[in-house]
Structures are given as structure tokens and as C-alpha cells.
Amino acid sequence: MTQAAQDTIAPHKPGSSGVSNTPKKRSKILKALSSDTFWRGVVSLIGFVVFWEICSRMKQWTGVEVPWIGKVPPPTEVLEAWTEIFWLPGYWESWYLSTGRVFAGFIAAMLLGIPFGLCLAVNRYFHDIFFPPFEVLRPIPPLAWVPASIVFWPTTELSIAFVTFLGAFFTIVINVLGGAKSIDIRFLRAAQSMGASQWDLFRKIILPGTLPSIFTGAAVGMGITWEVVLAGEMISGGGQQGGGGLGFFIWSSYMGGTVAQVIVGMISIGIAGYLSSSLIRYLGSISMPWRRLF
């Protein structure tokens, strides 16, 4: 192969060619700051907050209440409520309790769901036996399990964790199963031709080939666990028997008539969900370095 020929077909990708004189990659933050998309997002968020403030204060300023949004406390009041509770340990305890439950249920769902989904995909007998009951249980909404869960488990804490687990489990299994089933037959054939054993196929082809679906399932499952844990906490209440958490925080704020705190709780959940999703995306990018190219 001549050098000229190599040059002809060499891909020209700045920053990925491995050549020493490639310009250094700009940091992600600098890149974001110089992007129009980022600034459009910032303007949009500021616009939304200003709009909310104006609508909420309209009655105070003009005597005319804007429907729906006029009943919501303005962002400045929410911020004030937040600064008040920000220093209270109870608020952070709510974060801690909810996050703990989400991750307990989510990790249990991953630990059981990934092998279960893979077994469904690779073993016909396992699939024939376990898939039908799985499919019957799957459409039952996690919240419909709450009463049964309270009966099954001795403590409130375990009941919430169980419902949270169910929220993520079915989604993860279905994604893993779909991902493993859709692995290109050429990869399996190529590996078998090269002498891969069944264990090699499973470990080195099926598992990495399913990783993108596992992370998709994890991202969706994580979203569902947050929905489920909050509903569970609202139902379970607080006190000595367990309970508490951001869901209970919102519920007790509502019962106490402090709507600004309800909004604080809602925003807190938004932030917690965003941070959880970011963690999954980060884990996905370090587990699948080949996907960073796309």
C-alpha cells in the first residue's frame, strides 16, 4: 500500500486521527458557551421565569388574575422559600431518603433485570417458561402494586423500595431482551467462525452488543423510579414507621398550605432526576467508549 493510497482513504476527522499535530480539543464547557443552542436555551429559561413572575404577580399589580398560573407563587417567592429551607436538615434528609430508595430499587432492578433479560434472549426454554408470566405482570402499573406491596413487606421502607424496583425492572428487562435479540447475526457468525465458545459469545459479543440497550433501559427505568418513589412516599406518609422523602415533603407542604414549598419540592425532583440521568449518561459513555464517536 502506498502512502498516497493510504492518504486517499484515511478519514479526516479533526481530533480523532491520532496524529500529533491535531489541534487540542476544546473543553466541553467552552464549547457549550460558544454554541448558539446553549444561549438559546439560557434565554428560553430566563424568558420562562420572567413570564411566570409576571403572570403570578399580575393580580397584585393590576387586580386581574391570570388563569391557572396566577394561583402559583412567583419564582421570587419560591426562591425565598427555598433559601429558608435550604439550611434545614429535614429538606436534605428528604433528598437523601428519596435518592436512597430510587437507587436501591434501581440497582436491584439492574442486577436482576439484566441477567434475566439476557437469559430470555439466549435460552429458548428459559424464554418459554418465564416470558408468559412476565408479560402478564408487565402491564400492571407500579402504583397498582402499592397495596399488595404493603401487605407483602413488613416495613414501609421495603414496600416503597419494592414498588420502585418494579418500576425499573420491567423496562430494563424489555430493553435488554430487545437489544440482545437485535444483535447482528454477522457478529455471532464471525465470532463462532473464529472459535468462540458459548461463554465467549455471551461475554464478548452479546453483552457488549446489548450495552446500548441496557443504558437506554436504565435511562427510562431511572425516570420511572423517580415517578414511582414520589407517589409511594406521598401514600406512605412520614413519622416513625419510615416514609419521608421528597414525595412526602411535597405532600406535607401541600397539607400545610405552603404552595411555594410544593414548588421547591417539585423543582428539587427535577434536579434530582436530571442528576440521575446525567449519571447514567456518564456511566454509559465510560462503559461504551466506541459510542462516544457518534
Partner: protein, 279 residues
Amino acid sequence: MTSASSNRGAISIRNVTKIYDPEGVNVMAVDDCSLEIGAGEVCMIVGPSGCGKTTLLNAIAGFHSITEGEIYLDGEMLCGPDRPLANQGADRMVVFQHGALFPWKTLAENVAYGPIVQGAMSKAEAIDKAGTMLSEAGIGDMAKKYPGEVSSGMARRAEIVRALINDPRVLLLDEPYRAMDALTKSIMHESLLEVYDRTKVTIFFITHDLEEAIFLGDRVVVMTTRPAKTKKIVDVDIPRPRDYTTLSSNRFRELVQEAKDAVHEEAVKAFEAGERELA
């Protein structure tokens, strides 16, 4: 790198028939097809789309069973009446139409995969050898790149290296350069000829490109429209090593025309039979 050897890799296809879904629709893909491919031969298979060329390749590779007949490799039966599906093995390596490098492994890891899973080398040895072989193929700089980071031509070259590290007796190539532009294709041809001159591995190469077939092959086997049989065998008497001056020689043009006439007849039949026309 594999040792140059032309005393192995002889394929004998004897009266092979393949019927898909024997209890149902009964689509006959290959009908009583016989073909002898010598050790170290570059045998090019051409024919209308859907005629059963890939079925034959899959039977040799052990991906599909055959319904009747036998296939031998160096006198040993791969598949026959008692064993319709050949065992898959690293002695027959396939390079697929759309490539089958594992996207989650770097080129070097892809190449090293065979020796590692066979237990023939430690991981470090296999990666080291993979690096050397990729360098020999002119893509040593790309060893640590993922397939998604390199051009299709480089990926295909890496795939051939991945096959060769297993020291196969036969390379089975299923239209590996189909989607490439003319320039990349010519570079790939040069690269494959280089590999062949060095290893003398038997090559079973399916293509639709008649110029490619004559340029690379020792023989060009023209298959009939489905069910596949051998219609005509064009012996390519152009001496090796070949280079791009070969493409403008009169003999090359004559042989291309000869193959074209045979394929055209089959393409017309296939078209009339409602098949898709020659790609």
C-alpha cells in the same frame, strides 16, 4: 503472518442442492451444483442477484445446511448426507458484505479476537501480532481506533487481516467491496492481491463486478439464475502479478466481454422470471 502455502484449501462442491423450507414453500436456491476449486486458487463467483451464490458460501462456512450433495475441504467432508451442516471453523474465514468488525473492539482487538478465544495466544501476544499484521496491511496507525472511526476501506482491510491471523485454508468473501467507490475499490484490489501473493490462501469471492472478477480471479464461475448451477467457467489466463496496466490490456477486455455475455443471458432470464435485475 500466515505462511505462503498453495497445497491446501482445495474445495470440492459435489452435486449440492439447497432447498429452503423443504416442508413448505420449497424454494430451490442451488440445484445440483458441482465445482472444484484448487488449493491456492482465486475463484470468483458471479451471477444474477438472488441466484444462490451466498447460499453456497454459507454452506461452505457452516452457516447453512445443504439438502443434498457433499462439500469437501482438502479431501475431508465438511457437509454431506450424514452431516448437512458443516462445523464452523477458523479454517474457513468469512469477510461479510457489510463488514462484521465488532464495533465495541478496536481494530487490534478485533484482529486479536480469534487467537485469544482459541487459546492460541495470550491477550498481549495476540494484540502484538495484530498490530504487526495491521502495519503490514498499511493500517498500523489505526490499530487503536474503533471501526466507527475508520473509513470503510480500512475497516475491510482490517477484517481481512482478522481473517488471516487465524491462518485459514480458505477466505470466503461475500461482495466485500460492493458499496465502495471506484478509487477505494482499486486500492482494495491492490491490497487483496498483495495479501494473496504473500499467503496464497484459497479465495472464494462473490461479486457482481465483472472487471473485479477478471482482475482478481484465476477463474470466474458464472452461475445461472436461481436455482444456481455453474453456467460457464472463464479461465483467466492473464499472468500474475497483475497491476493496473492489466485493466487496459486487450485480453482483459476480451475476458470481461466473455463473462459479460454469459451473465447478461442469465440476467435477462432472471428479469423475465420476475427477479430483480443484476445489481
